[in-house]
């Protein structure tokens, strides 16, 4: 096995611009021990660790800059406003949106989907219309649509998936009709790892006049995103999955669509003027950002984006793909393990089940060796039912993970299997 590791490591070393050991030094948490073992963090699809640069940004915000933004006439308020709006601009450039005001800060991807479901959905859906999602959606891209459909009389339709965990595109074509008003699809499945062909989906959906929301919760940290070339109508993601803080997320929406939508929440900042007779709503993006926003969250997210840009998402994707390939090969050595999600195009996560060992026991016993993975249904119960399993174990990798960590993980898995024999 050593030789296989060596050969892959050699590939990586050829990439002079990627040195995983020096990158690991940016992540203080990776130095800690868990249960007296070096932490092996393979739960990156749930949340990523934060580099010192992001932690320092948030720390410095509270040390030197803390102030409420917008409308303040004093120095700090203006400085904080500038930082906050700069962060919006950094997000805009990162996903190549056309305008700053197309970037709405939310609490996370979930709130961003809810915003579109309620603001756009409730306004434009009516009886007989259809909303199309897929069988591999996270609950956060199922439940908001169920609620809106039950309020408007629209119908929820589901694109089926095959045994590899890929969308069945022929079925998608059949489900797509002039009744389809909204297509809301996950870019990368959080429980299967499948990378969906969203360019194709967006194009086909536009042909029948539907708007398309892409849930980028699992793609923003792995793939370069260009919303203009994708031509999606909405794109959502969470900051904490891309090495930024929790509690901040982004809704990108095309400007004309966002302008045509009513506010999602009422409050301060989203208004131009308020009287008891009439309230005039603010312009974009403020119309959708009621209340004091998560200022340090937005600034922290911008810092995380700068960090990722510094390494380069193409370099990140290359390295993570090698981690995925290596981990897949090593796991396949173990005959008791079955991988759930074997799509041709996959991001760096592996869902698996082990004969006669329940995922919760796998998770608890890996934890004993300092290895953090996720077990359960991953908020995708329909996927679990599709594959006839109550739950899976999921190891998900980030660019700070190493081939050596995968080796430790695989020998820990073997130990667990022996224990249950």
């Amino acid at each position: 096995m050593e030789t296989k590791t060596e050969s892959l490591k050699f590939d990586i070393k050829k990439k002079k611009d990627f040195d995983v050991q020096s990158i690991r030094k940016d992540f203080p948490i990776l130095e800690r021990l868990v249960r007296d073992k070096p932490l092996i963090y393979f739960d990156n699809a749930a949340t990523t660790q934060k580099p010192r640069q992001v932690i320092d940004t948030i720390y410095n915000y509270y040390l030197y800059l803390n102030s409420n933004i917008h409308r303040g006439v004093h120095y700090l308020s203006q400085a904080a406003t500038t930082e906050f709006e700069c962060s919006r601009n950094i997000v805009k450039s990162f996903i190549n949106a056309k305008f700053d005001e197309e970037i709405i800060f939310t609490r996370g991807a979930t709130e961003a989907i809810n915003l579109v479901a309620f603001s756009y959905g409730e306004t434009y859906l009516s009886e007989g219309d259809e909303v199309l999602i897929s069988h591999m959606e996270h609950h956060s891209n199922i439940v908001p649509w169920q609620i809106v459909c039950s309020k408007t009389g629209a119908k929820l339709k589901v694109i089926p998936i095959d045994d590899n965990g890929e969308l069945i595109l022929d079925e998608f074509e059949k489900l797509l009709t002039p009744k389809t008003k909204i297509v809301s699809i996950v870019h990368i499945s959080n429980s299967l790892g499948t990378i969906n062909p969203i360019e194709h989906i967006i194009e086909r959906a536009h042909n029948v006049g539907a708007v398309v929301l892409i849930d980028g919760s699992q793609s923003i940290q792995h793939l370069p995103i260009d919303v203009q070339s994708l031509n999606c109508d909405f794109f959502v993601f969470s900051g904490h999955k891309i090495y930024g803080p929790t509690g901040i997320g982004v809704l990108y929406g095309k400007k004309d669509l966002l302008e045509s939508m009513p506010p999602y929440q009422g409050g301060g900042d989203m208004i131009l003027s308020v009287s008891f007779e009439k309230t005039i709503y603010n312009i974009l993006p403020h119309k959708f950002e009621a209340g004091t926003p998560h200022i340090e969250g937005a600034i922290g997210l911008a810092s995380a984006i700068r960090y990722v840009q510094n390494i380069g998402l193409d370099v990140i994707f290359d390295y993570e793909t090698q981690l995925l390939q290596y981990a897949t090969e090593r796991i396949q050595e173990i005959s008791e393990v079955r991988i759930i999600g074997t799509a041709k195009n996959k991001a760096s996560l592996i869902s698996f089940i082990i004969d006669n060992v329940h995922p919760h026991d796998v998770g608890t016993l890996l934890d004993r060796d300092g290895i953090a993975i996720r077990t359960g249904h991953h908020c995708t119960e329909p996927v679990m039912r599709r594959f006839g399993v109550p739950a899976t174990s999921r190891a998900s990798f980030a660019f700070y993970n190493t081939f050596e960590e995968i080796d430790v993980f695989v020998s820990s898995l073997k130990k667990i299997i022996n224990k249950f024999k």
């Binding site: 359960g376 399993v389 109550p390 739950a391």
Partner: protein, 150 residues
Amino acid sequence: MDEFDSLYQEVILDHNKNPRNFGELESATHKAVGHNPLCGDYIEIFLKVNNNVVEDVKFKGVGCAISKASASIMTTVLKSKTVNEIKELFERYHKILTSKPDDPVDTNELGKLSVFVGVREFPVRVKCATLAWHTLMEALEKKDSLYTME
């Protein structure tokens, strides 16, 4: 023996692999289905109760080692006990599992069930060790019911 060895001790692994009283009970007078949607654990309990005494019990289902072993060991301690004795036993069991790791435990009180004392080191796994018991209580109270863990 660390807390993991204590959680996954031989007795528990054995009951997980070879669960006792596994299957359906045709003469059942009471039954209940238990479900923990968070982890997908699922259990069915069948009881034959006569004159307030449990004469026979069987179970089937899927779950982690802790949940399966706790169901299996539970079925081995119920026979010939009265409904009240079973309720008292569950109360003692539940109290010890949710106590703090340093609190003193009288293992004599629990008998065979004392192998589960280690579960209290893992608060997220307490539900695994009690799903069968909660389902049992439902069966005893309502004769035919569905219990969903929250």
